[in-house]
Symmetry: C2
DNA sequence: CCAGTAGGTTACTCGAAGTAAGTTACCTCC
DNA sequence: GGAGGTAACTTACTTCGAGTAACCTACTGG
């Protein structure tokens, strides 16, 4: 008995263990908050001892960064895929926003990490999160620039920041307003923000 | 020697000491980040021993909350004063925004606290900061509501969230763009966001 | 000048991050 | 199928900082 089944899997390959650690860590960080989460607890839940976490991620901060980074990558993939079929700037923006709202709806845990915890305190985590926003703003600014080469660069940047800020904030608000889904949230952002920029781009 | 001068002031009245502690704590938190800041260092810089901090603020978290709360109160005062002379919704919003951008320009330390650090990890600090935003969104939503009783409540809330999100994000961006002062930042927000809501309010 | 207390200190405990050094399961190649 | 090499893992610490118990001292009014 207990032959080839999976009663107690030990000794996994590195990559798999790493992924598993990220899963658990994301969960624990989201549950307890970064500070209150202890490496011992994460290790225990993974079913492994603490030094393994340090082996793979170097530090508690490193583990957090790992979680954030993974979420960031997934978000970028999703967004890029979503806007790949769009043609007008308006469509790009709308589809991108929708993808974002859908992503956070599905990955509540990761999202909790990105806001509550992750702004954390840890300087490098802040940088990592800023990286996500940068990703988004750059994308938006690039879209605007590509459709109107006359627009002031600084103004385009400002607009991108406004979109990202609005979106992030509205996503948070959606948690208190479950009746507002991704589609409606997207509409709100577009309704307010798009008008403001449309006549800059078109004219 | 060292007779009646002020070489070592000890034994201050409670309120004064408390204010001094908040000053130093704000500084140290902003400098090192919440996690890296140690109560021992803060105590030392204040020129007092650690248990005094605990006497007055209960915990490290309590001290942080104290700092945030003070900043919040100051910001609210400033904003309310700024919009007191305004008559139209547009004017209220513009003056309020301007007051905010000016406030963070003058209180960089407090602002650093409110974003980088304070989102911290500490659940109650997050609540406290959310309280600030709530303050702002409520104010904005109320203004809109007072000028157009027909507007959908949910939509008014969404708009308020969008304004706050935009503003916060743009304030951050201003740090990378020193040439963009409070006035220009206000203009950007108004230009993009106002148009979007103006034709909702006016009909 | 003595008593009461607001304001203050020293010297600890305890918990969690991080680490050094050793151990065991698994694979390979003879 | 056993030696032996190594990737995956553990035990048993050190260290550092938050929080606390118990004690002290400068200034007040009577």
């Amino acid at each position: 008995m207990t032959t080839t089944e999976e009663p107690r899997r030990k000794r996994m390959p590195k990559a798999q263990r790493k992924a598993q650690m990220l899963d658990i860590a994301e969960q624990v960080f989201a549950e307890r908050g970064y500070l209150a989460a202890s490496m011992d607890e994460i290790a225990e839940r993974v079913g492994v001892s603490k030094p393994m976490l340090y082996e793979y991620f170097g530090s508690k901060e490193g583990l957090l960064i790992g979680c954030i980074h993974r979420a960031r990558t997934e978000l970028l993939d999703r967004t890029q895929q979503a806007i790949s079929g769009a043609t007008t700037p308006e469509e790009i923006l709308r589809l991108g926003l929708l993808a974002f709202f859908e992503f956070i709806g599905e990955h509540k845990q990761a999202w909790a990490l990105l806001r509550q915890e992750a702004a954390v305190t840890v300087p490098s985590a802040v940088e990592e999160i800023e990286g996500i926003r940068r990703q988004q703003t750059d994308l938006i600014a690039a879209v605007i620039g590509s459709f109107d080469t006359d627009i002031d660069v600084v103004e385009a940047e400002a607009f991108a920041e406004i979109v990202v800020g609005s979106t992030e904030r509205l996503a948070l608000w959606c948690e208190r307003r479950p009746e507002v889904g991704p589609a409606l949230a997207t509409t709100y952002v577009m309704e307010v923000v798009w008008r403001g920029v449309a006549n800059r781009i078109t004219g």
